[in-house]
């Protein structure tokens, strides 16, 4: 049996067969990204609507479970170290472990990294390895370009497996950078399973509080465009160094 099926966003769309007000329905559907005007079979959703929801969730699940490939890290010359996360299940249950680097990691980065760099770049899978796979190829070169244009010098970048945002503080203690930027996968939503955030901090140390961090979130092709985000990060880091501050204390 040969059957070839191609789905696009249009194919998934379901509609109410005989709405009271056809133009009105179209205007209502257009007014919100919520899944409305989808119709029903008695009290249950139509098949395509249901499968689309399951498909979006499937992407989110895969994003949480996925790993950043070796090729991706090699392409940007990033070596990889681990936090104390142990495995995916422990990572999800124990956020505290993702905030601390393993002993091996501490040793490795002490050996390999430039100490007291002006800008420390760190990449981490966080809750979505897919976010890194999707966006790093655009964000990273744009970030390096913007550092150069701003006259800022990066140290030795690396990748952290099983990282949480606050692993910045531990890395800050070890390498004492002037500013640190962490590119990390966000918790996947149904709208996007590969959204990345850039967390930035001036002199991150143990005990840094959330409001000391500056964040650019929602970085993905349909959100904050990755290339623009990369360039913007350079500008923000420069401001932090000039003002010796980050987070809520940074003046825009």
């Amino acid at each position: 049996m040969d059957k070839n099926v191609v789905y696009t966003d249009q194919t998934w769309q379901t509609r109410i067969s005989a709405p009271r007000h056809k133009q009105g329905l179209w205007e209502l559907v257009k007014a919100t990204p919520a899944r409305i005007g989808v119709g029903r079979t008695h009290t249950r959703p139509l098949t395509k609507t249901m499968l689309k929801l399951q498909y979006d969730h499937a992407q989110a699940i895969d994003a949480v479970r996925s790993e950043v490939s070796r090729e991706c890290l090699q392409a940007f010359d990033l070596f990889s170290v681990d936090t104390c996360f142990q495995d995916k299940e422990t990572y999800l249950k124990r956020p505290d472990r993702g905030r601390v680097l393993s002993n091996d990691a501490v040793k490795t980065i002490k050996e390999k990294c430039l100490s007291r760099p002006q800008v420390q770049i760190v990449v981490s899978d966080g809750l979505s390895a897919k976010a890194i796979e999707t966006n790093l190829k655009d964000v990273y070169p744009a970030l390096l370009d913007s550092l150069e244009a701003s006259g800022l010098k990066p140290g030795t970048p690396f990748f952290v497996r099983g990282g949480r945002v606050a692993c910045m503080d531990h890395i800050g203690e070890i390498l004492k950078p002037e500013v640190l930027v962490l590119l990390i996968g966000e918790r996947p939503g149904l709208a996007s399973a590969h959204s990345m955030s850039a967390y930035m901090c001036y002199q991150p140390r143990q005990g840094t509080i959330e409001s000391d961090r500056t964040v650019i979130s929602n970085i993905h092709p349909n959100g904050t465009p990755p290339i623009e985000a990369g360039a913007h990060i350079g500008t923000v880091l420069k401001k932090m160094i000039e003002q010796q501050a980050s987070g809520v204390r940074l003046q825009w």
Binding site: H21, A34, H42, R44
Partner: protein, 455 residues
Amino acid sequence: MKTTITLLNKTYQFNNVKELLAKANEEKSGDQLAGIQAKDAEERLAARHLLAELTLSDIREHPVIPPEEDEVSRLIDEAVDEKVYQIIRNWSLAELREYLLSSQVTGKEIDWIRNGLTSEMIAAVTKIMSNMDLIQAAGKIAVETHCRHTIGQKGVLAGRAQPNHPTDDLNGIKASMYEALSYGVGDAVIGVNPVDDTPDNIKKILTMIKEEIEKWKIPTQNCVLGHVTTQMRAITEGAPADLMFQSLAGTEAANEAFGIRIDLLDEANELIHKAGTAKGPNRWYFETGQGSELSSSAHHGVDQVTLEARCYGLARKYKPFIVNTVVGFIGPEYLYDSKQVIRAALEDHFMGKMHGLPMGVDVCYTNHMKADQNDMENLALLLGTAGVNFLIGVPMADDCMLNYQSTSYHDIASVREILGLRPAPDFESWLEQMGIMNNGRLTEMAGDPSLFYTV
């Protein structure tokens, strides 16, 4: 109070009631994160055996958080009806469980006994009840409340329409709200979570919903779920609000992290009764959920079931119209998988009803939890059989503003259909007038939001 128990030849020791309560819990990642869980499955059962033998007075006399340190503890202890307590104080928790489940005991007896119980006693008995126990006992308790209209009657399953929008766009909110109404959802409340928590914005959304309620004569109530202080300012500036909303936690310190204290809630209570737009006695909408105290490091080493019960001890002071436990929102570090979410939902629903509260449940999960929509459908049906007052309705279960999945408008209609439940009576009459429902079933016209579209 040091306690020991010997099961066959093995002896277990627990240093205090707080430790015993924690170790008797079903497995929860939040208790593991707090480092207070049982070492293994056998110790968990040793704790449960021992807990079953403790008396109600043992629980009361060994408070998990001393009243002198915490205003929630004080409130709960002072609310005990001493006459009832004296009658039951020597009951063991095993006896309390069997009393609640016995065929002679109905909602009427439970209405009486609750006056002698503290939140901690209710939490304690929950730990020695199985899931089916929790469903059967909760099913005896009907809690009717009245704001603009009445919900909570036996056989009624109401729904909150939750028409959130990522930028609070009024037309977007309206569109999603029309979809809800066309599925017969919105009798509990039309309630929006705002992105922008400012008085002006809250007033704007409340006003829009109010105008729609008046235009279509919808028998429901409006609410915008901002911080209580923002709502107070909006209402003082003339915003039309039927309900006041606030998230609650089970300790004074965790409530401080939420920016609230009992005296602030008292002030808000006075305002909503004076300046609110509803006439009924029940003017509050509270939300709770296991894990919030630990997330603000304000848990005092107490387990998340006991802390959740204390939220209800606080909530009942204000005779709320609806209380909603947002059961899977907080993430896998508190409830790891669907098994834990289902257990927590049944515990919360039972504990809330034991406090005499009009309990609803946000049957929900985030994408990094080990759960999916099938789990939520299972849980929605379980809660329907337990007599839950309301469920949350979100377009196709996907909240495009809060970024989590809950139950859908379709799901609420389906739970009613499968279990023979009905919308709130006033709301059902209105649905019939609108041609959306007939004899408790959706009509051909249902599910079409353009029914409410006007040029």
